[in-house]
Symmetry: C2
Subunit: 371 residues, 2 copies
């Protein structure tokens, strides 16, 4: 089967590019002596994740209990659920652990720690550190770490600390990302030291974001790296200098359905429902609109971008506007659009059409969504 036989839009995964992306990060982390705990929120597919994991049992990171359920159903047991646990989900966590899933959770307050401990189930629980003011977590090394660990110890198991340098997505330049990686590392190492000093073991010291994972120079004291987007890469990562445009493994196959010749517009059936509403490159030096347009082989085409989108219509034009020769892009022509954000675009589809460097479909890998 070939891409030409598919109704559009469809989600295309170039497994050759994916494999290269995975190998690149694994080599980096091996050199730094740190374990990879890949974040499967990006791929949400057991087939895509197999090449990421050390073993069929994991380890992995998840962003929802549905991901934990799905991967556990496929034999993955070493799972860290890296979003602050809601008390209403704890019975579900206990049930999964009861079935043999070694599921770990995270908290960032005494209040949440008490809720986990109250289950009396010894749930291994990390404490979230706020390394960059980006979202959740306690300040690095803050005394409240000890209060949280003490609260956990009453019925859960304090397992260590974790952080996510989300602000690395806003860095400009390699040096800024390197500095952020060091800031991320120090935040957890310093926090683990506070716990050690108070008599807690804190065996897990976990960091992770794709930019910092790709630029970290030193991960001393860190035991594992969580990263997700690296598997596919995307235009936001390319804009940060974390990858090249040619490394992006994910694209949306769309079809030309018309033109507005006076405006230099090509209309496609790849709208925001297919690309997602993510406009993550809007604040970067190069704004890629809703995506960068490639030909059916996956090669960037005439500096075209998806400059605007309706639910099921994409508007393709030259970057910055201007006339184009509509006859070069006839009705029925197939295009492949590289996404701003692999996690957001992937989530709009229920399967990957897997190719390797050309247009032949080798496999179809299901992916799940929801909670």
């Amino acid at each position: 089967m070939n891409l030409a036989s598919l109704e559009t839009p469809r989600l295309v995964l170039d497994a050759a590019k994916m494999d290269a992306n995975v190998a690149r990060l694994k080599a980096r982390l091996a050199a730094l002596g740190v374990r990879l705990r890949p974040h499967v929120k990006t791929c949400k597919s057991i087939e895509a994740a197999r090449g990421l994991m050390e073993s069929p049992a994991g380890p992995i990171t998840v962003s929802t209990l549905k991901e934990a359920e799905q991967f556990f159903a496929h034999g993955v047991t070493d799972i860290f659920y890296a979003v602050g646990i809601a008390p209403g989900k704890l019975d579900h966590v206990v049930a999964l652990r009861g079935k043999g899933c070694d599921l770990k959770v995270v908290v960032d307050s005494v209040e949440a720690a008490e809720a986990v401990a109250a289950k009396g189930a010894g749930i291994p629980t990390l404490i979230e550190i706020d390394c960059d003011g980006h979202r959740a977590g306690v300040k690095p090394g803050a005394p409240v770490l000890i209060d949280i660990a003490k609260a956990l110890a009453k019925g859960a198991e304090p397992r260590g600390v974790m952080t996510h340098a989300g602000d690395s997505y806003a860095c400009r330049g390699d040096d800024a990302i390197r500095a952020m990686a060091e800031q991320e590392r120090r935040a957890v190492v310093e926090s683990a030291a506070v716990l050690h000093a108070a008599g807690f073991e804190a065996p897990v010291v976990s960091v992770g974001s794709t930019p910092t994972a790709m630029f970290a120079q030193n991960l001393e004291g860190v035991t594992e790296v969580r990263a997700g987007v690296f598997v596919f890469m995307d235009l936001v990562m390319a804009g940060l200098g974390v990858c090249a445009v040619n490394d992006i493994a994910l694209s949306v196959l769309a079809t030309v359905i018309g033109h507005q010749k006076e405006k230099g517009w090509i209309i496609t059936d790849g709208g925001w429902m297919a690309m997602s509403r993510d406009r993550g490159t809007a604040k970067q030096p190069v704004d890629q609109g809703y995506g960068l347009v490639c030909d059916e082989q996956g090669r960037p085409l005439d500096d075209l971008i998806v400059s605007d989108a309706n639910q099921e219509h994409g508007i393709v034009s030259r970057r910055g506007g201007g006339p184009l020769d509509a006859s070069k892009y006839p009705v029925g022509m197939r295009l492949r659009i590289l996404p701003n954000h692999a996690c957001a675009t992937g989530a709009q589809f229920d399967a990957y059409q897997v190719v390797r460097g050309n247009t032949e479909i080798l496999e179809q890998w299901p992916r799940f969504s929801g909670w």
Copy 2:
């Protein structure tokens, strides 16, 4: 069952508000003497659509062939697929029609018309008119209309004209929307007249957007109105003055998972994966962030909005920032978030939790996604 028993995030539909929204639009269109062909791209659920349709057979509008398939499988036969047809989808259209689905398509070029006619299957086909420079379509009354109709007549059936006033979403004030509704009406009536003068019947003269449907004063010459968002309404519609915030039937149930007290932040498990990345209110006079926060009963709460979002984290703060009393929003508290855009937020979920004015779950309605 009650909302309190659900793991979050979940999609909540208040059917009492939905019914009132539907009754309001139906009464308007009845007074104007025009038929409603509801756009089911918003609800993607046969249960939600039943109250919108004239009869179990329709009519409806769809944005994908998957919607056509799903609704046809539930007995709906009068279906208009309102996105310019890609030639690669025509065999699918012919197959559906062969099974008894009265599926209509749309084109806006001689090129696409020739592709439809080449099937020799008499597919009823509308011609898209560009009433506002928003996306696809030929200029109102343009001579090319006759060329397209002639091309269609060679193997398809020219059925009339359609347009969508997408720019109504950018109108400011009731008068601007009324003027846009009249512009939308004139565009198709004028185009139908051109076809009549050339000997084509053009029995269908179709318009549609929720803002213009809610504000049109006169629909003379129009035979049907397509609208979708009106069924649920959303913050973009409220910002346009098309509905009140209290009319919004859709919300995302989320749970408080933590705080950043120094910043006045509440952290929830309702991130952009749940809300979608749609920031449709960003350009409106009142920016609602990723959504307006209500209590579990659905009542707006302390002027809180989702000011930022990660994939599975929502950051809730006071509009404009400032301190808040975190103890009022403890870990575990349930919130309901009104969405910017019902179509985009709905698409992130696989079911509606149906309530009527309170927190008791009366039914769960499945919804589908994808293509």
